[in-house]
Symmetry: C2
Subunit: 248 residues, 2 copies
Amino acid sequence: MNPLDATHSLVRDTQPAEPCSTCGSRVAGLCHRLDASALDDISADSQRFHLAAKSVLFREGDPAQRAYSIVEGVVKLSRLLPDGKQQVVGFRFAGDILGYGAGQTYPFDAETLTGGHFCRIERGRLDSLLRLYPQMERRMLDLCLRELSNTQDQLVSVGRRSAEARVASFLIGLVEAYRQRGPLPTDLPMPMTRSDIGDFLGLTLETVSRSFASFKRQKLISEPGHQTVRILDMEALLRLTEGETAGM
Amino acid sequence: MNPLDATHSLVRDTQPAEPCSTCGSRVAGLCHRLDASALDDISADSQRFHLAAKSVLFREGDPAQRAYSIVEGVVKLSRLLPDGKQQVVGFRFAGDILGYGAGQTYPFDAETLTGGHFCRIERGRLDSLLRLYPQMERRMLDLCLRELSNTQDQLVSVGRRSAEARVASFLIGLVEAYRQRGPLPTDLPMPMTRSDIGDFLGLTLETVSRSFASFKRQKLISEPGHQTVRILDMEALLRLTEGETAGM
DNA sequence: CGGGCTTTTGATATCCTTCAACTGTTGTGG
DNA sequence: CCACAACAGTTGAAGGATATCAAAAGCCCG
């Protein structure tokens, strides 16, 4: 149960041995285990492109004309609340698919946190492909169901856990996200700001900062460089998420 | 965006004119807009049964051998947290489908709040039907995607709203749930306890009780009978959910 | 009628937010 | 290359929303 996978990371699985011939991604994407003709169809219709950090892929409310796949980079998904605050709905990594939803418009903003490579496909074309290749549709359903389960986990986390437990669960989620994508480095890139994390967990940036400070004091983590975390005591973090409820 | 639809109410839509020939349900279920042969297949494999209030349909962790459809009644979905508290993950009503998920086991408990009629089908049979009738699978995907979006809404609600805003959003969700199922009665059945509601919203039962008391004082709602609410000022409730953030 | 569950209400405790000031970091233009 | 502005992060103090603890009242159901 990965708290970071709260939404719409529709396509991902174990890593394939070879990079995808279409988009060059090394992590399993939409095209995971498709036959050659399907791959040809997709590559004919999809385009690769590069984006700098802090670029907007799409905005909440925009007509959902394309689906995107992350080849490399990190994306933040967020919703704007009526009062101007934002709720971060999830973070997405290489191999994830964005913007394929039920509605006619995107239900959230998608913004890059790092620079990276992306792949886009027209929604109409993707829909045709789904009709053409039933196993692709089946895969979408499976991944959607899994997402739903993950989002429920996030709901539990945000609804009933203390601040430190939430931050711990965020860190564990980060580890999980990287573990699913290849060998786990000791130093994990963490391109999101305290504010991003707070908006994801339903906390203020100050509270997030204090939790990080506390974890560092207890030697559960360290920050060896800018936008980098190292997990020193995974067990303790796990214990934090398991034991604690909001306990106010 | 219905906060109560936070999860897995995989199958529902506008009301069909006629009750479903298979299960007698008047609300659109899995069989919505299926052709006759599919309906025959389903009715051959599914069984109707009745259950009293506070019965268990299935438990978190049980092997997910069957999917259930609610013909009539209200069901509570919940997860047990490591420390023994429960997180209510959603409430389900007539027409909703339960227990069709990605995993091998059910991800939550399902427990009836009222007595009611249900329909069950073996998962293996349902899977075959999905393969047999692609439009059914497509429908599952659409509904799953919509669920995902609803769960994100619930996440926003729980993460960033004040106690009263959450309770207001629960009430609005209740209204929405009934509205989707037919003509809206002025007195809404509300079979869940304050504790259930609190566990759903990430609040204590006392806080829920105080919010209800406050709403009654302000004449936004009344409780004309046991387990019954009447909405007196919908606009005010909506204003509550829109305006407020946690604002601590 | 009585026992247990649900709900209400009050008093107190506490976690987290808010407000504020300061420090560190990044990036940019002179 | 340095200075400076903008942004990100840290830390402290105070206040407030909600949890916790407690007790009593209301309400079903046996």
